[in-house]
Point group: C2
Chain length 385, copies 2
Amino acid sequence: MKEALQNNPPGEWIPEIPDECIRLHCGYPAPALVPDEEVKAAVNRLLEEEHDLPLHYIGSPKIIKLKEQVLKRLKERGISVTEKEFLITSGACQAIDLIARILLDEESIVAIESPTYMEALEIFQNYTKHLISIPVDKHGLQTDVLEEILEEREQKGLALPRFLYTIPSFQNPTGTTMTGERRQHVLELANRYNFLVVEDDAYGELSFNKSFPTLKAMDQNSRVLHVGSLSKIVAPGMRIGWIAGASEIIHACAWFKKDLNHPFAQAVMAVYLANTDFNNKLVAMRDTYRSKCNVLTSALEQYFPAASWYVPEGGYFVWMKIPGADTSELLTHALAEGVSFIPGQYFFKEQATGTEYLRLSFSYADEQEITEGIRRLGKVAQAYL
Amino acid sequence: MKEALQNNPPGEWIPEIPDECIRLHCGYPAPALVPDEEVKAAVNRLLEEEHDLPLHYIGSPKIIKLKEQVLKRLKERGISVTEKEFLITSGACQAIDLIARILLDEESIVAIESPTYMEALEIFQNYTKHLISIPVDKHGLQTDVLEEILEEREQKGLALPRFLYTIPSFQNPTGTTMTGERRQHVLELANRYNFLVVEDDAYGELSFNKSFPTLKAMDQNSRVLHVGSLSKIVAPGMRIGWIAGASEIIHACAWFKKDLNHPFAQAVMAVYLANTDFNNKLVAMRDTYRSKCNVLTSALEQYFPAASWYVPEGGYFVWMKIPGADTSELLTHALAEGVSFIPGQYFFKEQATGTEYLRLSFSYADEQEITEGIRRLGKVAQAYL
């Protein structure tokens, strides 16, 4: 059977989190921002209007509306793609999985950010063992290091990456954002060394101040596969994501996805979006997360004088380094004190690299919880380091 | 990119069906049997009780209830599996895709029924070109032919199938059901020639009279991967299916499925099932489909004296042979007369084999439509054959 068999079972990466625990580990939207009332209204409206129709395979004609709504939003952000260059997926994870599935074989090379989104890391490792880690600093992916590696591989006649997977804005887990120069540099390298760029933009609309142009909007040679999602800005449980990219790649992804579609969820989201002033909602989201981020970083300044972290310009996460720490060990003690986080190791291909790091999420817990959580974590860190 | 690129785009297998057309092509449940009111009530109850919880990644704790409910139903049908031997999937298609994904590579051999479920055929062809077609007669899969082929391959030192894919009860597209002897024979062959059996039981509960033991219930050596679904008995658009089988295979499937889960749909179905007398509903479903099937076959007797078909004991479909017909050509004329069906060729690996056949579905259209549809089809057949 496939090698994935050898890996840990799903979800075994972290000990069970007690219910009463302050949840600084999970990249969930703030409960108050999840539109459960609006989703309920959308379902009622949809089924009252269309009865059984949305519950069949093909589902409601409103599914086309969802496509149009997302394409319209992308256009507002400088991404103009046709229907043939666009595919709705079951969340960004299905998008990443489909891309990996059509582009990778066991010999393929993938360049990844180090650290990077753990699920993407797992998905790529389902297809190939040949992942090249490119370090991230406070300005995002270190494109100069990427260039050196590509140059060296070319000189040595080694294979070049099939694609680079990057989260340029408000990266998971570091919260960092790639500068405009580096974004330009990535696209230059993609052209020079003939690889594709998978741009994961899950957090792209959650900027605290200024927002940044997507790689896809800057892309002149249709090298970028832009992956987006409603998970962080509406509700993860609805599993709505998408890919915008070259039509032949979208075509192949659509083929593999064919029978793995979710018509009901798509129709519900179409009705929800049609009845929502989403730009207005986004303003509220940005305010909420900016404020929660400030609460978290102030608490860190108070309780972690010796630690360092990047101050994010958007998104959900703060990435912290505690010199000398083993953050996996720290987690066991933290959970005993009722606070959770994700140890850094899980975001690296070379897990040992991550021992001193941890990811804190300010998205889910409320502001009082965040302050109290960091207080407890500081206490634990002092006691055990 | 993967070879799937070379295939037709999704959905291009059939011309567009006009809205006013009598739909004898689609394997959809009867509109009146799709519980849109109950689904609405379930969504309202779920979100009123749990607010944002079902809309996050992990979703509602009720998801566990769904597992228990399905396991309980399987047990009533003689299939006793543990939690580790069971996985909820996004419909039977994701189940089949996951199984193919972990068990197949480009060299793998898969034995399929001929004809068989077109989506399964497409899915397997995404992984391997080496499909062996085993003919189906009125008693289902011809296991003696399977045995001959296996014997011959073994003598010639050729590779044996990784698995057999079969729909033993109320097969798609033929509507035929495998006899008890043949079921026993399949399991014997699986043991003797060391292959797995993927049992697609999507229609298994929709028997008109007596029901048949599943291969999984008869399986002593855990060779059977039992695939089931709520699509035909509740609502396809909710995309709830499952696999019951050996724990190491379930484990591997779960790994690949990991981030492709649909927590909201699962919680909604859990609430729906918890508030439904499902066995009672099944009685009504069987009555409805038995009656519709009778209406279809009586109409065939009247309008297709020269054709032949199998009389199904359950399920959704009637498989008809019109000697000398080209059913793909016939379809164009039929659509012009406002009636649809699926030409036989799409259910065969060797498409030419299917030219004289077509699949009629009695599940979706109402009884008046079925009679009128067959009348029109008979008229078209007379005119063009």
